[in-house]
Amino acid sequence: MALLRVEKMSHEFGGLRAVNNYSLEIEKGQIRGLIGPNGAGKTTIFNLITGIYKPTEGEIYLEGKKITGLPPNQIASHGLGRTFQNMQLWRHMSVLEHVKMARYSRITYGLFGAFFGTAKRQREEEEIEEMAYSLLKMVGIAHLAGQIILNLPYGAQRRVEIARALATEPKVLFLDEPTAGMNPEELIQMMEIVRKVHKNLGLAIFLIEHRLKVVMELCEIIQTLNFGQVIAEGTPEEIQNDPKVIDAYLGKGTVI
C-alpha cells in the first residue's frame, strides 16, 4: 500500500479549474518530483494535499487513513511536513525557536505547565531543544541556533525551513522549490542536504523544482504538470524525451 495516495483530486478557484483529476502514489522512502511551467498548479497541489485548500473533488489518504479536508495543523501532525516556495519564516524568532515550534503538537505539558513552569515542562523543553539541535546539525546550521531569522543569509534560511519541517517528524516531506534563487554552489549543498535527510531519516520526499538538473538527479519518478493536468509521468529519462513535456516547456511545433 502506498504511503501517500491521492485519488482523482480536482480543485476549482471560482470557475477556473486549477487542478484536474490529479492522482499520486508515493511509496515509503521514495523521492518524487513534480515539474511544470509557471502557473501549472504545482504549488496548488501542495496546498491541497497539506490542507491549506480543500479539494473540490477527490480523496487523499496517508497510510490508508483519509485526511481530506482536515485542517492543516492536523494533517501536519499526521506526518506531512512541508517547506514553502517563498520561505514563510517567523521574522522575530530565533532559529532554534523555529525548530522547537514545529514540535507543538507533541508537547504534553499543557497550559498548566506553560503557565506555572512545572518540572515536566522543563524536562520536555530540554528534550525538544536537544532534538532541535540534532536537526540543525543535520542541515549544517547548528552554529546559528541563537540567531534571529532576519540576520541569516538566504541559503541558511532555506535550511531553517527544512529543519523546521523535519521537526514535525514527517513521513512525507514536501519541498516547494528548495533551490529557488540559489547560486550553483548553494544548489549543490542543498542537494547534499536533501540526500542526507533522505538517507538518515528514511523519508519519502515530494519535490517541486524548476531546475531540471535537480529533479533529474534526485528523483526516481517525475510527474509533469501543465494547466492543472498531469501530462507525463515516469523516470527522468522517459520525461526528458517525452514530446509532450518538450511541448509544454517550449511550445508546440518548436524546432530544436
Partner: protein, 442 residues
C-alpha cells in the same frame, strides 16, 4: 571654538564611560539595597531636610508637582532628590557591589526560587517604606501596579499575538463588578444587597476567590468575542472588541441591581498594598512563563506567519483563543483589584479614556516584552499622576510623547526583549559569575 566643543564632547563621553564602568559590576541586589537605604534615609531625615531646603513638605512623586506649581522651588527640590535618592543609591550600590556580588553568587547555589524571593522581598520592602510616607503614595503605587497587570495582559494580545484588541476596559469592568458584587454580597451590610452573609473576618481569605471569579467572568466575556472574530485575521477583532467594550459599559449602566450609572460602592477594604503587589508579581510570573514556553512562542508564530504556523502543527485557532482568554482573565483580576482599591466603581471609568491609557502604556513600553509592559505601565501612570497639576495640558504632553516614541522607536521603548529572571539575579562581576556558572553546571 570648534576645538573647545569637541573637548567638551570628549569629556562628557569619558564621564559617561567612567560612570558605566563604575556601575557595570553592581548586581540587582546592590541596587535594591541602595534603594532600601535611600527610602530609610527619607523616612528619618526627609522631613528635616525638606524643611531646611524651604520645601513645605516631602516631595511626594519626586517633586514634579512642586516644581510645576512653583518653578522657584526647582533647585531645592532637585537638591532634595539628589541627597535623598540619587546620591545614597549610587554610593551604596557602588560600595557594596563586591559583597552583593558574593551574596548573589552564594544564593545561586541554592534553588533559584530562593534568590528570586529574596529579591522580590527587598523590592517590596523598598516600595513599602517609600509609600509609607503618605496615603497618596500608597494609592499611586497600587494603581501603578494594577496598570502593570493591565498593560502586560494587553501586551499578550497586541504585542505577542499581533492582533489589535480594544476591549480591555470592558474586561476590566466585568472583573471589577463581578468581584465587587461577590465581596459586597458576602461581607457588607449594603442597601443594594442586604445583610452580610459571612463574618467580615473571612473576607481577606475569600478575596483571592473574588478576584479569580472576576477574572473568569471577564474570560467568559472574551469567549464571546473570540468565537466569531478568530475565524480569520485582520481588523475584525479590533472592531468587534471595541463594540464589546461599549456594550459592557451600557449594559452596566442599565443594570439597576449593581447601581446603574451611579456605580457600586462600599467594597470592603481588601486590596492592601501587599495583596496588590503579590497579584502583580503573580501576573508577571505566569505571563513570563507562558510567553517563554514553546506554547507561548506559538503566539509569535501566529503573528509572524499564520499559514506557516498551521503547517508546523500549531493549532492556531486554539492558540489565539487561549491567549485572548488569558489576557481577559488578568484584565478581570486587575479590574477586581481596581474596584477594591478605590472602593467605588462606576461604568463611566471603563470607557474610551481607559482604553487610550492602556493602549498607550503597551505601545509606549514596548511590544512583545514583559520589561516593556513594566516600563510602560509604571512610567505612564506615574507620569499621568505627576503631571496632574497641568490639568488639560497633561493630555497634550502625554500624546506628544507617544508620537515621539512612535517616530523614533516604532515598537516601543523596550520591545522584543526577553525577561530572563535567572539572568537578572545573577552577580555582575566576572569572577563571581564564573563561579556560579560552574556551580550551576556542576
Amino acid at each position: 571654538m570648534n576645538e573647545e566643543y569637541g573637548k567638551i564632547i570628549g569629556i562628557t563621553h569619558s564621564i559617561k564611560r567612567k560612570a558605566r564602568s563604575l556601575f557595570s559590576e553592581v548586581p540587582l541586589l546592590g541596587w535594591l539595597f541602595g534603594m532600601l537605604i535611600a527610602v530609610i534615609l527619607e523616612r528619618y531625615v526627609g522631613e528635616a531636610l525638606a524643611e531646611s531646603l524651604g520645601l513645605s513638605k516631602i516631595p511626594m512623586l519626586f517633586g514634579v508637582v512642586m516644581m510645576l506649581k512653583n518653578p522657584l522651588m526647582i533647585p531645592s527640590t532637585v537638591l532634595y532628590l539628589f541627597t535623598i535618592f540619587v546620591l545614597p543609591i549610587s554610593v551604596v550600590a557602588r560600595l557594596i557591589s563586591g559583597p552583593a556580588n558574593r551574596v548573589a553568587a552564594k544564593l545561586l547555589d541554592l534553588p533559584i526560587l530562593i534568590s528570586v524571593i529574596i529579591h522580590i522581598g527587598l523590592l517590596y520592602a523598598v516600595l513599602y517604606l517609600w509609600s509609607e510616607a503618605s496615603a497618596y503614595r500608597v494609592l499611586t503605587l497600587k494603581l501603578t501596579l494594577i496598570a502593570v497587570i493591565l498593560t502586560l495582559s494587553l501586551n499578550v494580545v497586541n504585542g505577542y499575538m499581533g492582533e489589535f484588541s480594544c476591549s480591555h476596559p470592558g474586561f476590566m469592568a466585568l472583573g471589577a463588578y463581578a468581584a465587587s458584587v461577590f465581596t459586597v454580597v458576602l461581607f457588607v451590610d449594603d442597601k443594594l444587597f442586604g445583610h452580610a452573609l459571612l463574618p467580615a473576618a473571612l473576607a481577606p481569605f475569600m478575596f483571592p476567590i473574588a478576584l479569580i471569579i472576576g477574572g473568569i467572568v471577564a474570560a467568559f466575556g472574551a469567549l464571546v468575542i473570540a468565537i466569531p472574530s478568530f475565524r480569520t485575521r485582520g481588523d475584525y477583532l479590533a472592531i468587534i472588541s471595541l463594540a464589546f467594550m461599549f456594550i459592557v459599559k451600557s449594559m452596566i449602566e442599565n443594570l439597576e441591581v449593581v447601581g446603574g450609572p451611579r456605580g457600586l460602592s462600599s467594597q470592603p477594604d481588601l486590596a492592601s498594598l501587599p495583596t496588590v503587589f503579590i497579584w502583580t508579581v503573580a501576573c508577571i510570573w505566569v505571563t513570563n512563563n507562558f510567553v517563554r514556553s514553546t506554547m507561548g512562542k506559538a503566539l509569535n508564530a501566529v503573528r509572524d506567519d499564520e499559514v506557516a504556523a498551521n503547517a508546523m502543527t500549531v493549532n492556531t485557532r486554539r492558540t489565539k483563543i487561549t491567549a485572548f482568554l488569558f489576557a481577559a482573565f488578568w484584565a478581570g483580576v486587575a479590574g477586581g483589584l481596581f474596584a477594591h482599591v478605590l472602593r467605588y466603581v462606576n461604568p463611566g471609568t471603563f470607557g474610551l479614556q481607559k482604553l487610550a491609557e492602556v493602549l498607550a502604556m503597551v505601545y509606549f513600553g514596548g511590544l512583545n516584552s514583559v520589561y516593556g509592559s513594566i516600563v510602560g505601565g509604571v512610567s505612564l501612570s506615574m507620569l499621568g499622576e505627576a503631571l496632574r497639576p497641568l490639568e488639560i495640558f497633561k493630555w497634550i504632553i502625554i500624546p506628544l510623547l507617544l508620537i515621539l516614541i512612535m517616530i523614533y522607536r516604532p515598537t516601543g521603548l523596550v520591545a522584543f526583549k526577553e525577561f530572563n529572571v535567572g539572568k537578572l539575579v545573577m552577580p555582575k562581576n566576572k569572577s563571581d559569575q564564573r563561579k556560579s556558572d560552574g556551580a550551576a553546571s556542576g
